[in-house]
C-alpha cells in the first residue's frame, strides 16, 4: 500500500490549520481531519489574547516566531483576524507581585521581548481608569489581541486554497501505524501517509496514549464573559500576576474578560461556563477597572483545551512511533502560538529540524510512558 498523502493532520485548531497551510505552501500533500468544524474548541472560543508578555521562558522563542506570523496574516490568510497591536499590560496588585514583574524583565531582555516596567505613580497617570489596588505593571507594546472565531477557519480556507485537503465532520477514530505509514480510516475512505501531526488539543492525549505514550493531560475550560459595548477606553490587553483575571476591550466597545474555570465533558464534547467564576470575574474586573461596575454582561462561554501539569504543551516527535509529531496540551495559552506552531511543524516535517528549541516540550518529560 502506498501513501495517499505526505502528512495527515489530526485536529483542526489553530496549530493544525496553520500546519496545513505551511505544509501545503511548500507543496506537501496534506489532509487535515477535524471532528466538527475547524476552530470549534479552544482555538475558536478562547480569550483572543496575542500575548508574549509573561510567558514561560521556554515558550518565548515560539511566541517570538509566532508574532512574526501574526504581523503577516493579511498576506498569508487574507485577513488580520482583527489582530490589533494594543500592547499587553500585566498588572501587579501587591509588592510581591511587583517583584515578580521586575524579575521577569531579565527574561524579556534575554529573548529580545520589548517590555517596560511601570511603577505605581506612572501607571495611574498613564491609565487613569485603573483601580487603586493596581501597584505596578509590565507593558509589552508588541502584544495585542485578535478574534479567535476567525483565525483557524481563515487558516483552513487558505490551506485549502493552497491545495490542502480539509476534512470537517471527520473524527479521527481509526488510525494505525504499520512501521512505515499511518492509515486513517473514516467509513469506507482511507488516507495513508508517513507523517501524522497530533494537533488535537485535549484529545491529543488520546492519540498519544494510543501510540503508547500517555501523558497526564486534563480538560481545561476557561470561564469567559463579554459585556455589552460601551465607549472605548481600555486600550491594552490586560492580565495580572498569578493570572486570576484577564481583561480587554475591543474597539467595537465590548469588554471581554475571564477568570477561573467552567465545567466540561470532553467525551461529548460539551462545556459550559459556571456562575461562580463568572461572578468572581466580575468582582476582579471591577478591582482592575472600577468604571466597569454596573455595565451589563451579555454572554459567557468556554471551550475545552488540554491542560498539562507543568502548564507547557507537548511539542515534538513521538518516542514510540516514527513519523508521529505531537503539538497539543497548550494549557489555555495556545491561541497566540498556533500560527507559529504550524510553521515549526512544517519545518520538522519537511526539513527534519527547526531553529526553535523544543526540548522543554518533549513528551517523555512525563514518566507515564506506555504504562497507561
Amino acid at each position: 500500500m502506498s501513501a495517499t498523502h505526505d502528512v495527515l493532520i489530526l485536529g483542526g485548531g489553530g496549530a493544525g490549520c496553520s500546519a496545513a497551510l505551511h505544509l501545503a505552501l511548500r507543496g506537501a500533500r496534506v489532509a487535515l481531519f477535524e471532528r466538527g468544524l475547524v476552530g470549534s474548541q479552544a482555538s475558536g472560543v478562547n480569550y483572543g489574547g496575542v500575548r508574549q508578555n509573561g510567558r514561560h521562558p521556554a515558550e518565548l522563542p515560539i511566541a517570538r516566531r509566532s508574532r512574526e506570523i501574526w504581523a503577516r496574516l493579511p498576506e498569508l490568510i487574507g485577513t488580520d483576524a482583527e489582530f490589533e497591536v494594543t500592547g499587553h499590560l500585566k498588572l501587579a496588585r501587591s509588592a510581591a507581585e511587583e517583584a515578580e514583574l521586575a524579575d521577569y524583565m531579565a527574561v524579556a531582555r534575554e529573548y529580545d521581548l520589548p517590555l517596560e516596567l511601570i511603577g505605581s505613580n506612572s501607571i495611574h497617570a498613564r491609565w487613569p481608569w485603573l483601580g487603586p489596588r493596581v501597584v505596578a505593571g509590565a507593558f509589552a507594546p508588541e502584544d495585542g489581541a485578535a478574534n479567535p472565531r476567525l483565525l483557524a477557519p481563515a487558516f483552513a480556507r487558505a490551506a485549502r486554497a493552497a491545495g490542502a485537503e480539509i476534512n470537517e465532520h471527520a473524527p479521527v477514530s481509526e488510525i494505525a501505524h504499520d512501521g512505515a505509514l499511518f492509515t486513517l480510516t473514516i467509513g469506507d475512505r482511507t488516507w495513508r501517509a508517513p507523517v501524522a501531526l497530533n494537533c488535537m488539543g485535549y484529545w491529543g492525549g488520546e492519540i498519544a496514549a494510543r501510540f503508547g505514550e500517555a501523558v497526564p493531560v486534563a480538560p481545561l475550560a476557561p470561564n469567559m464573559l463579554v459585556s455589552e459595548p460601551i465607549p472605548y477606553f481600555i486600550e491594552p490587553n490586560m492580565g495580572v500576576v498569578g493570572g486570576d483575571v484577564y481583561l480587554r476591550q475591543i474597539r467595537r466597545g465590548n469588554v471581554i474578560f475571564g477568570s477561573g474555570r467552567g465545567t466540561s465533558d470532553p467525551a461529548v464534547p460539551w462545556s459550559r461556563p459556571l456562575p461562580e467564576p463568572t461572578l468572581t470575574a466580575m468582582a476582579r474586573a471591577i478591582e482592575l477597572v472600577p468604571r466597569l461596575a454596573g455595565v451589563q454582561v451579555i454572554r459567557s462561554w468556554t471551550g475545552i483545551d488540554g491542560d498539562m501539569p507543568d502548564g507547557l504543551p507537548v511539542i515534538g516527535p513521538s518516542r514510540t512511533t516514527p513519523g508521529l509529531i505531537h503539538a497539543f496540551g497548550f494549557s489555555g495559552h495556545g491561541f497566540m502560538l498556533g500560527p507559529g506552531i504550524g510553521a515549526i511543524l512544517a519545518e520538522l516535517v519537511l526539513d527534519g529540524r527547526t531553529d526553535v528549541p523544543l526540548h522543554p516540550f518533549r513528551i517523555d518529560r512525563f514518566a507515564l510512558g506506555s504504562a497507561a
Partner: protein, 90 residues
C-alpha cells in the same frame, strides 16, 4: 417620534433629569415611557447606524439600555422611574 398619553394621565408628576436637563414624567412610568414622552430617542447605536428608541417593550430585545447614576446600565422598559433619577443616553 413621541409617545402619546391615552389613558391614566392623571397621575402625580415626578421630576428626573435626562442628560443633565430637568424633565418630568408620571408616577408609574417606566424609564422608557418617561424618556420617550419627553424626547425623541433613547440611545444611539454604537455602530454608527443612528438612534434607537427601544423596540420590544417587554425586556427581551435589550435595545433600551440607558445609564442611570448610581445604578449603572439599566433596561428602560422594565425599570420604574424614581423621583430624581439622573438618566444619561450616552
Amino acid at each position: 417620534m413621541r409617545l402619546v398619553r391615552r389613558a391614566d394621565a392623571e397621575r402625580a408628576r415626578i421630576p428626573f433629569t435626562l442628560d443633565g436637563a430637568a424633565a418630568e414624567a408620571l408616577a408609574g412610568d417606566t424609564l422608557l415611557t418617561a424618556i420617550l414622552a419627553t424626547a425623541d430617542h433613547l440611545r444611539t447605536s454604537e455602530f454608527g447606524d443612528g438612534r434607537r428608541a427601544g423596540f420590544c417593550w417587554m425586556g427581551a430585545c435589550q435595545d433600551c439600555l440607558v445609564w442611570v447614576e448610581g445604578l449603572g446600565r439599566v433596561r428602560a422598559c422594565t425599570t420604574q422611574l424614581e423621583p430624581g433619577m439622573a438618566v444619561r443616553r450616552a
